[in-house]
Symmetry: C2
Subunit: 220 residues, 2 copies
């Protein structure tokens, strides 16, 4: 615990009425692991049973799991942050309050309710959450907008992470308690939200280009 009554960096950050965290790192992480297993396994099992219009490819079934995981992360795990401005000072903190106390060790802009981080969360939760859910549905029901929707959400995810990293750099790059939290939370936990959207966006870009290429050849 720092001089200002909280563990976060920079130490001069003022967080009046801070209530120390009670849950351990393992307890915080468990629901994320649960969400990942539930989403990927659930989407895999359900998509294996629906066979209207031919079987879905393995990639499509895994992508359904990814979109379900993303939607649940945004809507269930992240949205309470928006609606709990006093999460640091609540006498009886719930899981979600504790979750953002823990993540703030890797990026204290969450504890400080930095406006950029808040704005990014608004877009993620309000637009990308429902859109990710729609993407899972679009794959399952083979909608013709499936690829452009997946591309759109992936690009929004990438734009969001890019801005998240650039603003951290411009604002001083000193928001983590230690190198461990820098690598584990700021870099590590964000990296899957960069790597997977890059792969999904690239795949959809290629599929879309191929569809126009095929159209071109047929109309010649």
């Amino acid at each position: 615990m720092g001089e200002n009554g909280h563990p976060y960096s920079p130490a001069e950050l003022e967080l009046p009425g801070f209530v120390p965290q009670r849950l351990s790192q393992g307890q915080i992480l468990a629901p994320f692991v649960g969400n990942a297993v539930f989403s990927v396994l659930g989407a895999w099992l359900i998509s294996g049973r629906c066979r209207g219009g031919g079987r879905l490819s393995r990639t499509d079934r895994l992508l359904m799991g990814w979109w379900l995981f993303a939607a649940l992360t945004y809507i269930v795990l992240e949205s309470p942050f928006l609606f709990t401005p006093d999460f640091l000072s609540k006498e009886n903190p719930n899981y979600f309050d504790e979750l953002f106390k823990e993540y703030s060790k890797g990026d204290s802009r969450f504890a400080a309710r930095n406006s950029t981080v808040l704005a990014l969360e608004v877009v993620t939760i309000v637009l990308e959450g429902p859109a990710a859910l729609l993407a899972a549905y679009a794959i399952a029901s083979r909608k013709s907008y499936s690829h452009i929707l997946q591309f759109a959400v992936s690009l929004a995810q990438l734009y969001g992470r890019l801005l998240y990293f650039i603003t951290a750099y411009l604002d001083g790059f000193n928001f983590w308690v230690s190198p461990y939290y820098f690598w584990a939370y700021f870099i590590g936990s964000n990296s899957s939200w960069v790597i997977i959207p890059t792969l999904v966006a690239t795949r959809s870009w290629k599929k879309i280009s191929a569809a126009f290429q095929a159209e071109k050849i047929k109309t010649r």
Copy 2:
């Protein structure tokens, strides 16, 4: 001129060494009008001459003008802002310094070099500028990635403006000198960067969905 030696809002903003603006609003706006006329007219005339593979539609020719205008705005008119941190205090300000002094009347976050605004400019100039230029080329040469590229840049433009507005709201919504500058600059000059990308993204979304719909019917 306010108490702190500058005309911007909020008055308590500290801008040491501020050199008052010399160019008028008309002188500032002229290059924008010139860029618009040059881009749309230039793209229209050139695209009317290239006829390899059938004529381009009127919409495509206008879109080439739009992308050229966007690219020149980002790369030529906006990029000097990134590389001139001292634009407010230069003894002999050039056109670009004066441009951002003028725009700061509608949003003083530019004068203050707010990190969100800077990060948005980095993405716009470094990624969207070259991508907009590529979009004009892709339309002209009928690339199969033309629609997905146009969609990508439009979505990035929309995401950028959304974040621009949300952060202004969260940070106090008091960055304009007067209601005139609020409506003319903050709302007015940004609105074309919302309306046109919405139209372009919607059009490309529909074309992409239609391409997959056509593919589906043919493979039945």
